[in-house]
Each structure stands twice: as C-alpha cells, then as structure tokens.
C-alpha cells in the first residue's frame, strides 16, 4: 500500500466507483464520499493527503465548497478538481483559492496518476523538511541551554576575578585580610 490517502468525492456512482477501483489498483488508500456533506464528515474524522472532487455536484456543497472545507480543516490537504470542459473558468478560480490542479472530463488516468505523483513528491519533500526542522530545533534548544549556562558562568567568574583584583590591590587591608577575602570570593564560586 502506498503511503498516500485519497478521498474521492463525486455524486455520480459510476465515476466514483471507477476512480476508486483505478486508484486502489495503483495501491493508494482510498475512501469515497457521495456528496460534499459526507466528504466534510470524513475529512473531520481523519486526514487525507489528497481530495479528488467533482466541481459540479447537486446541493449547497459543490467542489469549490469541498475545496474550502478541506483547506479549512487541514491546509496540508491538496485538492484536485474534476471539471467538465465548460467549467474551466471556475476551475481556474479554484486554483486561485488553493486547489492543487484540475482535470477535465473524461478523466485521463495517466494524467491523474501523474498529478498525484507530483503531490506525493511534494508531500515527501515537505515531510523531510519538517523532520529536518524538528531535528534542528531540538539541537538548537540543547545547544542554547548549554551556551546560556556557560555565558552566565563566565560572566560570574569574570566578576569574581575583578573583585579579587580589587581586594588584592587594596592597600588599606592587611595581607592576611586580602588573602582571606580573596579566598572567600573563590569559595562563593
């Protein structure tokens, strides 16, 4: 099984079934939803890397609304829109709202798999960037604690040295007093 989860949203049972079968054959993890309402419910239950949705669906929740919901629920989800040729303009509008891409009907599956591969590559790069970031943050935090500890320690030791110098140079004091006070400072650490 490939490490990419896909939600297919389409009101047409034939297209829905076809997409599900073809994607499963390519070994993706696939769920299906028959409308925007079911899609919203499912997206709130678990994270999908990719949502493939029909642009035109009956009811208040069309493809654009599914896109907006997906981005609102988790902005990492990438959305692919399936459009009829006549609604390409709407699809371009959708791209401006953050859709990853759109495909015209009838669906060319080679093209679809290419788009999904691209998204998968992006997600992998993103994930390793985040891993690196996490590793860097951890290293940085540990290093910062050490450096800050040393910084305060050096400042305190410098202060002690200055105090000792002042005492040792103090001609008003007896030699024994100077030594005693210098040792006191050394002992305070």
């Amino acid at each position: 099984m490939k490490n990419l989860s896909i939600l297919v949203v389409d009101d047409d049972p034939v297209v829905r079934h076809l997409l599900e079968q073809r994607l499963k054959k390519e070994r993706y993890q696939v769920d299906v939803a028959e409308d925007g309402y079911a899609a919203e419910r499912m997206m709130r239950q678990r994270f999908y890397d990719v949502v493939i949705t029909d642009l035109m669906m009956p009811g208040d929740l069309g493809g654009i609304e599914v896109l907006e919901l997906a981005k609102e629920i988790n902005s990492r989800t990438e959305v692919l829109l399936i459009t009829a040729h006549s609604s390409v303009n709407t699809a371009v509008q959708a791209m401006k709202k953050g859709a990853a891409d759109y495909l015209e009907k009838p669906i060319n599956f080679d093209e679809l798999f290419l788009r999904i591969d691209k998204i998968a590559n992006m997600q992998t790069i993103l994930r390793s960037a985040q891993d690196l970031q996490l590793a860097m943050d951890t290293t940085e935090n540990v290093a910062a604690a050490t450096i800050q500890h040393l910084e305060m320690l050096v400042a305190r030791l410098q202060q002690n040295l200055n105090d000792i110098e002042t005492i040792l140079r103090d001609v008003e004091l007896e030699e024994e007093q100077r030594i005693d006070r210098a040792i006191d400072i050394i002992n305070r650490g």
Partner: protein, 277 residues
C-alpha cells in the same frame, strides 16, 4: 550548473565578505554553486570569476544585490524561540515604558530595532506583542524599525504576505485570525500591524550612527555568519547605539563571551538578554 574552482572560491568568498560581511566557508563549494550559478547565468557569465568582476564594475549595483539576495539565509519564523518574546512582553516592555514615562510627558517614545529583519516575521511578532500588551497602543509612541541587507527580503517584509508554510511555523492560530487576512492561498498582515513598522535595507558593516539610539535591539542569528573580527566590530557599534538602560537580544545559541565586554548577560526565567555595563 557552473562549477567553481578553488581560486574562484577564494575570490568570490572575499568579495561576498566585502559587500555583506558574510563569511562563507570555502570548503562548501556546493553552496556557492547552488546559490550563485543561476545569478551567473542570468548575467551571461560563464564563470564565477567573470561574475565577480562584472559585479565590481557594475555601478548600478544590480548584480551585487542579486548576489546578496542569493547568498543570504532568510531562515526566520514568527516568534522564533518563544523566550525572547515572553521576555519582551513580561519584563522588557513594561520596564522600558516605565523608564520612559516621566521624561516624555504622556506619549512614550520607545524605539525598537530588528537588525536582521529578514522577511519581517520577527518585527511583526514584536508588533503583535505590543498590540496585545497595550490595548491602547495609541497612547504610546513606538518606532519599530526592521533592516536587512537583502532587497528581496525587505520587499517581502514590506509587503507582509506569507505562504502557508511560513505561517504554520510558529504563529499561533489566535494571532493568525486576529492579525492576518486570507489573501488567495497566502496570508497578509493587517494594516493596523503593518502601520506600526518600517522596513529598510541596511548593511550592518556600515556605521550605525545614522539610525539613532534604540531602547531595544534584536540582533539574532546574523552575527553567526560573520568572522570574529567583524562580530566584535558589530557588537561594539550596537553598544554605541543602544540606550544606556536599553536591552539587547541575540540568538539563543549565540554568545558575547570574548566578543564584546561592554555588555553583561542577565537571565530572566530561561532567557538571556544583555545590558550595557
């Protein structure tokens, strides 16, 4: 990609240090190649020696700017390390405002400088903290300046637009909703915050006197790219332009030991800040 040879490495590294102070390790040839190859190509140069020579001759400094933009690291995020911002909110700002009130009679002039502002996240984070702390920020006079050596970084900072990857790093959801507007697939800082800050290009190798005095200076994670000599010069200049009771914040892994004895480190909770002796 154009390959770089050892002689060019030395030449280009020296040129970059001259124009920016940034000291690049000559053992990292790939860094020069990945960052400068496309700059060389776009100015029709076949080698890095040619690029360097052309940049020196170019009176308009367009090539120099392109090289600086390509070589500078804009690694930054909103509220990078929580510590300094908590310190600012709970200790520094209240103290500075308190100290400035009697003299100013009403409006308190407080000057804050983000000395390596990069793409603006640090200064906007500071502005957000001020807005959160002082509901009636209008009663105070703040002067928030962000400078960076990279024109490209300053341009993005001024525009205040960030993509979702930049936003997701460090920014609290509650601040996102409150202080940013959705702008296509990105987010743009709201005008009320944008109006609090000024950005301009500035090279830290230059004298700082033209900038005036500051109450609080953030100079984080920039001196790490300088040689020890340049670091000493920089922090000495920072001491000159910081108010006597002012505050300096450096990066969490940076140290001023052996760099500038005019500053003393002080600790508040888990964060260190510096004040003048």
């Amino acid at each position: 990609m154009i390959k770089i040879n050892p002689a060019e490495l030395k030449l280009v590294a020296q040129y970059i240090q001259e124009i920016s102070g940034i000291f690049l390790d000559q053992s990292k040839a790939y860094l020069f190649e990945t960052r400068l190859s496309s700059v060389a190509e776009s100015y029709g140069c076949k080698s890095y020696q040619e690029l360097q020579a052309k940049a020196r001759q170019d009176g308009s400094k367009v090539i120099e700017k392109a090289i600086v933009d390509a070589i500078t690291t804009n690694e930054t995020l909103f509220f990078r390390d929580k510590g300094p911002f908590e310190l600012l909110q709970h200790k520094i700002l209240p103290e500075v405002i308190d100290a400035r009130t009697p003299r100013a009679g009403g409006r308190v002039p407080v000057r804050i400088w983000s000395a390596a502002a990069s793409t603006g996240q640090e200064l906007y984070s500071i502005a957000i903290i001020i807005k959160e702390l002082l509901r009636d920020a209008a009663n105070y006079s703040f002067n928030l300046l962000g400078t960076d050596i990279s024109d490209a970084a300053i341009a993005q900072a001024s525009y205040g637009k960030y993509n979702r990857f930049e936003i997701e790093r460090g920014l609290d959801k509650k601040y996102l909703q409150k202080y940013f507007n959705l702008f296509g697939d990105s987010w743009k800082i709201k005008d009320e915050i944008r109006a609090m800050v000024t950005f301009k290009k500035f090279n830290l190798m230059q004298p700082l006197s033209s900038l005036g005095k500051f109450d609080i200076i953030f100079c984080r994670n920039v001196a790490i790219y300088f040689t020890l000599e340049d670091r000493k010069k920089l922090f000495n200049k920072l001491a000159d332009c910081l108010a006597d009771d002012g505050y300096l914040l450096i990066g969490s892994t940076e140290s001023l030991t052996g760099v500038c004895s005019r500053f003393v480190p002080k600790r508040h909770l888990r964060t260190i800040f510096y004040q003048k002796q």
